[in-house]
């Protein structure tokens, strides 16, 4: 499989069939841009603490997929860390169920500044499909200051990466 991806990049063959793992030129350009940006802004890497605030878990799986060999976000320094103390970015998923309000607040406070908060997924923006239920808030911004949103239900790993990149752009300005 690795050889196939490799040949595909080198040989610039026509895109393989859908469902096949393929990297396009834009993927590669994106990756290079991302790497440079990380280098200049965070001095090599941005560490993310992901907080599941009542998500349906699809958003988490897409975050996990960012680490697989296809996206391999670590190569441009985007990685998930175990402790908020090590994090530059907090990535919140879910509509913030009431049970997670306190944990989200604590995680935010435990993260050293300067820090960015990204709300990932439609339901983290305004409750999404759960909006109006008694057990959720109207989105992450009610609990912590949110710097940017990544739409999608769930956003794909590529969307999340692009969202992180956008957030950093806005931060530089």
């Amino acid at each position: 499989m690795f050889t196939r991806i490799f040949n595909n990049i080198i040989g610039k063959k026509k895109a393989l069939r859908a469902g096949e793992l393929k990297l396009t030129r834009s993927d590669l350009e994106f990756a290079e841009g991302m790497r440079r940006k990380m280098h200049s802004v965070f001095g090599r890497s941005a560490r993310i603490r992901q907080v599941d605030a009542g998500s349906c878990n699809a958003c988490e799986w897409e975050c996990t997929a960012m680490g697989n060999p296809v996206y391999d976000s670590q190569r441009f320094g985007v990685d998930f860390v175990a402790s908020p103390r090590h994090a530059d970015i907090i990535l919140v998923t879910g509509p913030v169920s009431l049970g997670m309000v306190l944990a989200l607040k604590k995680t935010y406070l435990a993260t050293p500044g300067p820090k960015l908060v990204i709300a990932c997924g439609d339901c983290s923006k305004d409750g999404g499909i759960y909006r109006g239920s008694y057990a959720v808030t109207d989105g992450a911004a009610e609990i912590v200051p949110v710097d940017s949103y990544i739409p999608g239900c769930p956003p794909t790993p590529r969307d999340i990466l692009a969202g992180i990149s956008r957030t950093i752009d806005a931060f530089i300005k």
Binding site: G54, A65, A82, V136
Partner: protein, 509 residues
């Protein structure tokens, strides 16, 4: 009128106890138990218990009205007779304020400290505004964790936010040295009030909500939901819709099983195995996206059938699966050939068949412990009556057994998909549904990747949802965890946990 495979019995409290105990003792598993607030349709609070009759495609639905004594609703708990009822009864207590007298565990289950006492969200006369106005986010959750005392016992609290990218839940370990003596989990941090939300948004939008009960079982949940509503409305879905649903259910199973087998490698620190699994999973997710527009197979299920003709891309499915099969074989060879990996799996996290049966285990958890129960063979739904396959189980109940059940099932799913794609399915994608009959109910069920998923829907006198009960596989399997990890070393907990791969969101709802 109830669907043909449901036998409904309206009983008194005493008869209910007796009948439930008898059914359970005779080896008929309890599939779900719930309460319905029927006061607005001239009834009271009614408790239902659904048993699957052994070896037959029949459900025994027992129910009894809860009687009121001086403003309090209570009945005699059936947990001492039917242990599998223990979480259901605690759930009913939280959500309806009905006390199961004599229940061995008096602690709340679903509602945490911030929810007001004496306000029970699923009572029909309790409004969202009422609940919201009485929520106190500052109030602490005084959960009474089991305290183990003795020399050398040390308590380790973990969570709700964990180290990895996983869902939140709190685990209280009581350890002696390195071994786990007792584990007391506190879950329901991600409780989103989904069941009440179903009642509010109406049947049509329900499919989208069902897809978001548990991310990795999106298709299983939406299928079970649609089947429940369709059965209630007396609608027979077209063959083509059946074929597509079966196919996508199997695709969901494959990506989950292979992903889970890979994830277990993370529990043993076997990075190559982990990434190989992740790579195959990614391929399958991309296939999902190409077929349905969603990596999680969302947006396909609709009441009455499906909205996309996935079968048009049969070639692509076969092409990808062909590749995946080869890679999967290499992958399994890699894992089974790695002594250090297999050593860790062998004998870890043993769940005995007796405990699994008593606590009502389902899916992989049950089949890994020798209980050969699979909704696809016992209660044949969709196309499962025409495809030939058998349920797989292993007897040892350890992590390895659960991995091998997954491996067997994944292979089986490949062949199910192939046999579905051999036949042509002319005809429409969906049948029309003309309204929802008043005062009707039905069960809907599928075998999802983690085990059986059940929905129960009931309408009021206007044909609007009176109750939508969701029962995910994880709700049945979470209570098994303390038994499976007992005596294991703490570093093996993530591994055992991954071998069950339970959904928090699916159980917390």
């Amino acid at each position: 009128m109830n669907p043909a495979n449901e036998i409904h019995k309206k009983l008194t409290e005493g008869e209910f106890r007796e009948e439930a105990a008898m059914l359970f003792d005779n080896g008929n598993p309890l599939m779900l138990m719930f309460c319905v607030d029927e006061r607005e349709i001239g009834g009271g609070f009614t408790v239902y218990a659904v048993f699957s009759l052994k070896g037959e495609d029949l459900f025994m639905v027992l129910s009894f009205p809860v009687t009121e004594k001086s403003g309090r609703f209570a009945y005699k708990s059936i947990t001492p007779l039917v242990p599998a009822a223990h979480w259901y009864e605690r759930e009913i207590r939280d959500m309806f304020g009905i006390e199961p007298l004599g229940h061995p565990d008096p602690r709340p289950l679903v509602l945490h400290g911030m929810y007001p006492d004496n306000l029970h969200p699923l009572r029909r006369d309790v409004t969202v505004e009422q609940i919201r106005s009485r929520i106190d986010l500052e109030r602490e959750d005084n959960y009474n964790f089991v305290k183990v005392e003795g020399e050398g016992v040390c308590e380790i609290p973990v969570g709700p936010v964990h180290a990895g990218i996983i869902e939140p839940g709190h685990f209280r370990f009581s350890a002696v040295g390195e071994s786990i003596y007792f584990l007391d989990p506190r879950l329901f941090y991600t409780h989103k009030g989904v069941e009440k939300h179903f009642e509010r948004i109406g049947f049509e939008r329900g499919a989208a909500l069902a897809e978001r009960v548990s991310g990795c079982s999106s298709f299983a949940h939406s299928t079970a939901y649609c089947l429940a509503v369709e059965r209630m409305a007396g609608v027979e879905i077209p063959e083509k819709a059946k074929a597509i649903r079966t196919l996508l259910l199997e695709l969901e199973r494959i990506y989950n099983h292979i992903g889970d087998i890979g994830n277990m490698c993370a529990g043993t620190g076997f990075a190559v195995g982990y990434q190989s699994g992740a790579l195959i999973k990614e391929k399958l997710m991309r296939l999902n996206a190409s077929l349905t527009g969603s990596r999680y197979l969302r947006g396909v299920n609709a009441l009455g059938g499906v909205s996309r003709d996935v079968l048009e891309k049969a070639d692509e499915i076969l092409f990808t699966l062909d590749e995946v099969t080869t890679e999967y074989k290499d992958f399994m060879e890699l894992l089974t050939g790695s002594v250090s990996h297999m050593e860790r799996l062998d004998g870890a996290g043993v769940l005995s068949m007796d405990i699994a049966r008593k606590l009502g285990a389902t899916g992989i958890a049950a089949r890994g412990s020798g209980i050969n129960q699979d909704m696809r063979t016992v209660h044949k739904h969709l196309m499962y009556d025409s495809v030939v396959f058998e349920a797989h189980s292993r007897g040892k109940g350890d992590v390895l057994a659960r991995m091998m059940v997954r491996a067997d099932e994944a292979e089986c799913s490949f062949s199910i998909i192939e046999s579905i794609l051999k036949e042509p399915y002319p005809g429409p994608l969906a049948a029309g549904i003309k309204g929802f009959p008043a005062l009707s109910s039905a069960l809907g069920y599928v075998e999802g990747p983690r085990g059986s998923v059940f929905y129960f829907v009931k309408t009021n006198d206007k044909g609007e949802p009176l109750r939508v009960k969701v029962r995910s596989a994880s709700f049945c399997n979470w209570p098994l965890m303390p038994f499976a990890v007992r005596g294991n070393i703490i570093p093996d907990f993530p591994l055992v946990n991954k071998s069950f791969n339970l959904s928090y969101s699916g159980s917390d709802m």
